[in-house]
Symmetry: C2
Subunit: 523 residues, 2 copies
């Protein structure tokens, strides 16, 4: 394979060995040192421990996120990075955290239940004990039948996704075949990884959203006490969590609401449907932070040393914020710990990069990539106008990690044809660690999109999926236990190598054509 | 295969088709009716719902078990069974249930945690908020270092079984190959399914038990407030539960103790080990029932109609009691619901069995098969003396179901060579439902052993393992969701067929040689 030269024209993906024909200098000795430091003296799990267990959940603008930000700033400084800073990116909204959360069924018998207040929902009026009413609403007309039925009740809403027998494993790794498929040539207008919705699906989604927006005012006007919900399934104790109210300072009021373990929610539902009176007791105490409504990213640098190139920047990052039922271990303490470990490795090796290396730990990614979007807007360009700032031409590359805790199997070129042979060369000494694949495909859902949106070369790595899609993404089970140390060590070595190569290369990484100005898209 | 006649002498297992060469009358029309009723008009899931969700956890002598017993007695009567009764089998001990259970970490930040009071542990003194101390004890000498350190503290003990990445499925079914292996001939002294412990393992187990028995008095004498433990692992929110104190009325005192979700326990441990002060708050309120210390089984009959045979009995059963963190759905509401459904099917078909069919739902199985052992002792024989009671010769067979919620794949002949061709014939019309295999092997762990111990033909079916061993057996996740309806329907049809055949057969089922008198072994 090594001797076959494939024509690159009209082809956006290719196997790594073939692409590597394009001569690209790689400092093999330095890669060996990075491997040695990253695999044998890793601190990535210690970093992950401080970001997860010690900081706690890191909801946007929460005290947990601020603990993690302060710790990261200090740790990066202690490792020798320069200009470590917690940098405001603009206005976000209210912070919020849980001070107490308890829910149990008290009739027909006692059963402590598992649930978590939805983000930005208010407290209950102390410990309340109420009868349960099951509310099934699929259209606005359905609300009518609950008029006068909800006063002083705890509302239980439907479960639409039923637990399945676990005949499939929670976790998986990419097979060679899957990776080869990702590396295979695709047509120039590579379709996005997640196909766009059909018009029908979009209409249905909008109708559901419109209905949802009417529920809270209805429940409040009817005098209900609280809501127990499970809108997205999950099984064997795993449940998903999100926000139950906007984070905006002027958000409309909602009821206290807990997202519940599927098994507990289903038991309540089955009992009510069988005509058996059900009573629950619950207490949630939540605290809003309204003193500082700004959002913040953590940044720090390894200064460049090349007279001509030191004003150019190679960036790496991941989002530090998380949802709040777990500790955001795979989403995305993992990515942040790997990025921090990558710069720690480079500092430990005392590299003198030609370009400046800048790490950024974003905030409010979960609410719409706000930290990275605003950083890009403040530093590089606003995609709405495409008026470029001076720094726009200085960015050599941005590397992102936010697809769970799986090891890196390659990288998405994000439709950037010219960068593919370069990445293939960089991957060669990392092949033995399982990182082999350059795909032309684009991938979405995280902060490299903010760079891509203004024509900057922003990339997300391909990671083994593990149990991210089934068990950890936005769930109460996204905890430190879900982080496989060997995967995170491997990822740290790959990222450190990529960042080092990008900082040392004679040229910045090639870019795609600049996009035209457009309104900022919502994720 | 059907035409090959295998010699049975010296062989204790054989494939079903070969064994079926032995002519055994099977009423094919009745089997078809049983299938129709059991597969098309099943009530097994409704029964399972009342045993689990409606009754709640069914710890031995708890109010939950009494609710389930009363419901089963009434339901069996409503279906037309005779002599439904809640029959005392003798002395058990205290009942116990949870009236409140709440536990949360309050420092370094707030996190509601998941845990369940161990059975028969006492209440906390209201809501307590205490500092956490990690206690690691592997020998009695280790206790010394905690002297004076535990006053007014919550003790956190070690986790010895770490969560694993879920690369293997929770649930599985037997493969054809596995079933063929079970059906293959084995030597006469078939080794038990679970190999006995080595002397070394037994010594180590005894040493651990001896050490454990010293912990509670030590913790109490040191003035500790409560214990949080996770002695048996589990992952992604699943944890095991058992008793934390004896059920005997004169049991020594212990501290309040909760069995914790592995993730929550590990977070506490990691924080304490990193030198970070950890505080928890908890409240458990548990209630002991000491009015009635007797244990009870539920029994009911379909009376026999053959003048000569109606005093003979075919029994079927499963244990109704459970552990208490879930609702004992797979252990063993599943088995009870299937057994109840089997007699419902037979009642619905208005069968007039020659022999009397008697269902028994046992109690206190989890504490040592007490319900069935004492039933056998009261009705048939005491294995300690082997003095046979008159009913001993009247029992045609006992069929048990207690290996989770998986469909029936065959039956353990329990070393009874003579019964194998009969079972093979009975399975033939059930082969199409996946029930194919007769194995000579013995299986243990449940109530058929009580019959087998006095030379009565007691059998447990082979069931697909599903997620019984990984996810549900004695865990907080043993809930209604873990019951696959199609599996329980299939099992009901198989059991109804076996019971019917045993009730109609000219002869009782063949027996093994009578055992000699021996002290009752502990499970």
């Amino acid at each position: 394979m090594k001797n076959i030269v494939l024509p690159l024209l009209g082809v956006l993906a290719c196997s790594a060995p073939a692409l590597a024909q394009q001569a690209e200098k790689v400092d093999q000795a330095m890669v060996a040192k990075i491997k040695d430091e990253g695999l044998n003296r890793s601190k990535v799990m210690e970093t992950a421990f401080y970001l997860t267990d010690v900081s706690g959940p890191r909801l946007a603008n929460s005290p947990g996120l601020m603990r993690a930000s302060e710790w990261a700033k200090k740790q990066l400084t202690d490792w020798g990075l320069a200009k470590a800073n917690i940098e405001s990116w603009g206005d976000f909204g209210r912070g919020w955290e849980i001070e107490k959360s308890y829910v149990a069924m008290t009739k027909p018998y006692y059963k402590a239940m598992s649930g978590t207040p939805k983000a930005w929902t208010p407290s209950t009026n102390g410990l309340i004990k109420k009868q349960v009413v099951l509310v099934k609403v699929s259209s606005e007309a359905d609300l009518e039948k609950y008029k006068g039925q909800l006063r002083d009740k705890v509302i239980v809403t439907e479960v639409t996704s039923m637990p399945k027998l676990g005949l499939e494993p929670d976790a998986r790794r990419y097979t060679d075949e899957e990776l080869q498929k990702m590396a295979a040539p695709v047509v120039a207008d590579a379709s996005p990884r997640r196909p766009a919705m059909t018009d029908e699906q979009r209409d249905a989604m909008r109708a559901r959203a419109a209905l949802r927006s009417k529920l809270a005012p209805f429940f409040i006007s009817e005098g209900a006490a609280a809501v127990l919900s499970n809108p997205r399934g999950g099984s064997v104790g795993t449940y998903f969590t999100s926000n139950g109210a906007p984070y905006a300072a002027d958000a409309q009021p909602v009821l206290p609401e807990l997202e519940m373990a599927t098994e507990d929610q289903l038991r309540l539902i089955r009992l009510v449907e069988a005509g058996i009176p059900v009573e629950v007791e619950l207490e949630t105490k939540t605290k809003f932070q309204t003193q500082d409504l700004k959002g913040y990213n953590v940044v720090a640098e390894i200064p460049g040393t090349d007279r001509k190139l030191k004003n150019e920047i190679v960036m790496l990052g991941g989002h530090l914020d998380s949802w709040h039922a777990g500790t955001g271990a795979t989403d995305n303490a993992a990515g942040c710990a790997v990025m921090m470990e990558a710069v720690r490795i480079l500092e430990a090796l005392n590299v003198k990069p030609r370009r400046t290396i800048r790490i950024a730990l974003w905030s409010a990614e979960e609410e719409g990539l706000h930290g990275s979007k605003n950083y890009v807007k403040n530093h590089f360009a606003d995609p709405a106008t495409m008026q470029l700032k001076p720094e726009h031409e200085k960015l050599a590359a941005y590397f992102n990690l936010d697809n769970g805790a799986g090891k890196i199997r390659g990288i998405y070129a994000q439709g950037n044809e010219a960068v593919m042979p370069i990445f293939a060369s960089w991957l060669q000494p990392l092949n033995e660690l399982g990182a082999t694949t350059v795909t032309a495909r684009t991938t979405g859902g995280t902060d490299h999109l903010s760079f891509d949106a203004v024509g900057l070369p922003g990339f997300q790595f391909i990671q083994d999926p593990l149990d991210y899609g089934t068990r950890t993404h936005h769930t109460n089970m996204d905890t430190y236990e879900r982080l496989p140390p060997e995967d995170l060590k491997q990822a740290s070595v790959v990222v450190a190598t990529f960042v080092y190569n990008a900082a040392m290369r004679d040229q910045k990484l090639p870019r795609k054509a600049l996009p035209t100005a457009k309104a900022v898209g919502q994720r």
